[in-house]
C-alpha cells in the first residue's frame, strides 16, 4: 500500500528529471544548429534586402534597398547563365545518371562470380574526392593530345577532334557533366541496389509463371517496385545539380565567358570574391527556394504513394 501511495510523486520527479535530461542531451546540437544554420539562414533573408558588404565601409553605411538585389539579378547575365546551366545540368545528368545507376545496380545484383569486385570498382570514384577528380579530368581533357581527344580521334576514324574541351564555350559544360556522372553514379547505384534487394522474389516467380520474359519482368515488376527509390534518386540528383561548385571552381572558375557558370559559383564569386554579401544573399535565397521546391515535390510524390497503399 505504502508503495502505491508513494508512486505518483516518485514518478513525477522522475518525469521532471527526464525532461531536464532531454534538454541536456539536446542542448549542444540545438545551440550549434541555431548559431551556425538557423541564424545565418535568417540573416540571408534579411541581408538580401540590403547592400551589406563583407568588410563594411565606414563611409557607406549598409542600407535597406528593398527588392533592388532581386531586380538586379534579372539583368545579371552571369546569374542567368548560371541558373540556366543548372537546369541544363539537371536535364542531361539526371536522366543519364539515373538510368546508368539502375543499369549498374541490375548488373551487380546478378548472382554471378566476381560481382563484389565490380561493385567495388563502380563505387571507387565516389570515394575519390571531387577536387582530385576535377584535376585528373583536366589532364584527360588536355587540348590537342589529351587522352579523350585521342580516343575520339580513333573511334571516329580520324574524322573528329581535336577539341579544346575546357576553353570551348559549347563543350565546357558537357565536359563537366561527364566527370560529374563518372564520380556520382556509384552512390546512386548502391541506393538502387538496396531497392532491388528489397523486391520480394515471389513477384518474379509469379511473373515468370505468367509467361513474362526478362524485359517484361523488368518493366512490370522491377520498375514499379523501385518507384520510391527512383523518386529519391531523381530528386537527390537534382538538388546536387543545383549545388554544383567544386569541379567548376577547380577546372574553369565558371569560364570561358560564363559558359560553365553555376548559381553557387556565382554566389561565392559575388559574396566572397567581390565582398557583395547582400547581393550574394539574395542569390542564395533564390537558390534555396529552388531546392525547397524540389524537396517539397519529393515529399508530395512520396505521400501520394502512401495514400495509394
Amino acid at each position: 500500500m505504502a508503495a502505491t501511495v508513494q508512486r505518483p510523486s516518485r514518478l513525477s520527479t522522475r518525469r521532471r528529471s527526464e525532461a531536464i535530461m532531454a534538454w541536456v542531451f539536446s542542448a549542444p546540437a540545438i545551440t550549434l544548429l541555431i548559431v551556425f544554420l538557423l541564424v545565418p539562414f535568417l540573416m540571408a533573408i534579411g541581408l538580401s534586402f540590403t547592400d551589406q558588404r563583407l568588410i563594411p565601409n565606414p563611409n557607406l553605411p549598409t542600407q535597406f534597398i528593398g527588392f533592388r538585389n532581386f531586380v538586379r539579378m534579372m539583368k545579371d547575365e552571369a546569374f542567368l547563365r548560371g541558373l540556366l546551366n543548372n537546369f541544363y545540368f539537371v536535364l542531361v545528368v539526371v536522366p543519364v545518371q539515373t538510368s546508368l545507376a539502375l543499369l549498374l545496380a541490375t548488373l551487380v545484383n546478378k548472382k554471378l562470380k566476381g560481382m563484389n569486385v565490380f561493385r567495388t570498382i563502380y563505387f571507387s570514384p565516389v570515394v575519390t574526392t571531387m577536387v582530385v577528380v576535377a584535376i585528373i579530368w583536366t589532364f584527360l581533357y588536355n587540348p590537342g593530345e589529351g587522352l579523350i581527344n585521342e580516343f575520339i580521334h580513333i573511334i571516329s576514324f580520324g574524322r573528329l577532334g581535336p577539341y579544346n574541351w575546357l576553353q570551348d564555350t559549347k563543350l565546357v559544360f558537357p565536359a563537366i557533366m561527364l566527370l560529374s556522372i563518372w564520380q556520382g553514379v556509384g552512390f546512386q547505384m548502391v541506393i538502387y541496389l538496396a531497392g532491388l534487394q528489397e523486391i520480394p522474389e515471389p513477384l518474379y516467380e509469379a511473373a515468370s509463371v505468367d509467361g513474362a520474359n526478362r524485359l517484361q519482368q523488368f518493366f512490370y515488376v522491377t520498375l514499379p517496385q523501385l518507384r520510391n527509390t527512383t523518386i529519391f534518386v531523381v530528386l537527390a540528383t537534382t538538388i546536387l545539380a543545383f549545388k554544383l561548385f567544386t569541379q567548376v571552381e577547380v577546372m574553369t572558375k565558371g569560364g570561358p565567358q560564363n559558359a560553365s557558370m553555376t548559381t553557387v559559383v556565382h554566389v561565392v564569386h559575388q559574396g566572397w570574391g567581390q565582398l557583395k554579401v547582400g547581393y550574394a544573399s539574395a542569390i542564395s535565397i533564390v537558390f534555396f527556394l529552388i531546392v525547397l521546391g524540389v524537396s517539397l515535390l519529393q515529399r508530395c510524390f512520396l505521400r501520394e504513394e502512401r495514400m495509394v497503399e
Partner: protein, 298 residues
Amino acid sequence: MMTTTTPHGIAYRLRKGIRLGLTYLAMSLLAIFFLFPIVFMLVSSFKNNETQVLIDMSTLYAFVPRGELGLQNYADVFAQLDFGQLMINSVLIVGVTVFGGLVINSMMAYALARLRFRGRDLLLGVVVALIIIPFEAVAIPLLLVVNRLPWLGGATTWLDTYHVQIIPFIADAFSIFLFYQFFINLPKDLEEAAFVDGAGVFRIFWNIVLPLSRPVFATVAILQFITHWGDFLWPLMVTRGPGVRPLMIGMQQFFGLDPKIWGDIMAFASMITVPVLIIFLLFQKWFVQSVASTGIKG
C-alpha cells in the same frame, strides 16, 4: 525440337554461355570506364621523367608503367610544400567533426526518440525541416558570423583557424534524423528494465543503447567522412595561410602553379586518394550499407 530447350540441351547451354559472356563483357567495359582515370593517375605519378608523362598521355602507354620509374614526383611534392602538415590538418578537422557529430547528434536523437518532454514533437519537426537548408545557401552569411565571433585568448575572429572548419559542421540535422530512425526501432525492453532498476538516462544511453547501435554510428561516421573529407567551398573561404588549410585547398593551389608539372600533380593526387581507397576497401561492406541507408527514408 523440344530436347534443345531443356536445361541440359546444347543450344540452351550455348545460349546461356553467350549471355553470361556478354554480361561479363559489358561489366568489364564499364569497369574500364570507372577505373581508367584512377589508374592513369597512379601510373603517371611513378614516371620520374615529365616528358615521358607528356609523351604517353595520349596513348595506351598512359596506363603502362614504362620509362624511368620511381618516387621522384613524390619527393618533389614534399620538397615544394609541407604535405605532412596539410594531411594532419585534414585528418584533424575531419576527425574531430565526425567524432563530435557522433556524440552530440546521437544524444539529441536519443532525447527525441525516447525521452518525454514538452516541445518534443515541435523540435523533431524543426530538425526535419532543417535538413532541407543546403549549406551553400547559408555559406555567405555564415562567413559574416564567424568573421566576428570571439574565441579563447581574446581573438575577435574565427577566420584562419581549425575550429572555424570544425564547430559549424558538428551538429547535422540529417545525422540526427538517421540516429532518430534507428533509435525508435530499437526494442524498449532492456531500457525499461534498466529504468525500473533505477538507472539514470545517461547510464541507459551509454551502457544499453550505444552497444546496440553500432551500425547507425558506423553509417553516420562514414557519410560524414565522405562529405567532409572532400570539403572545398568553406575552407577556401575561411582560410588564408597554409597553416590550417586542408589537403583539398593545398591540392587546388598546387594545381594552380605554373608551369604545371603533371607528374608532381598526379603524385599529390595519389597521396590524397590512395589512403581513402584503402580505408574504403577495408570497410567496403559498411560503406555500401551506409550509402544504401540514405535512400531508405520517407
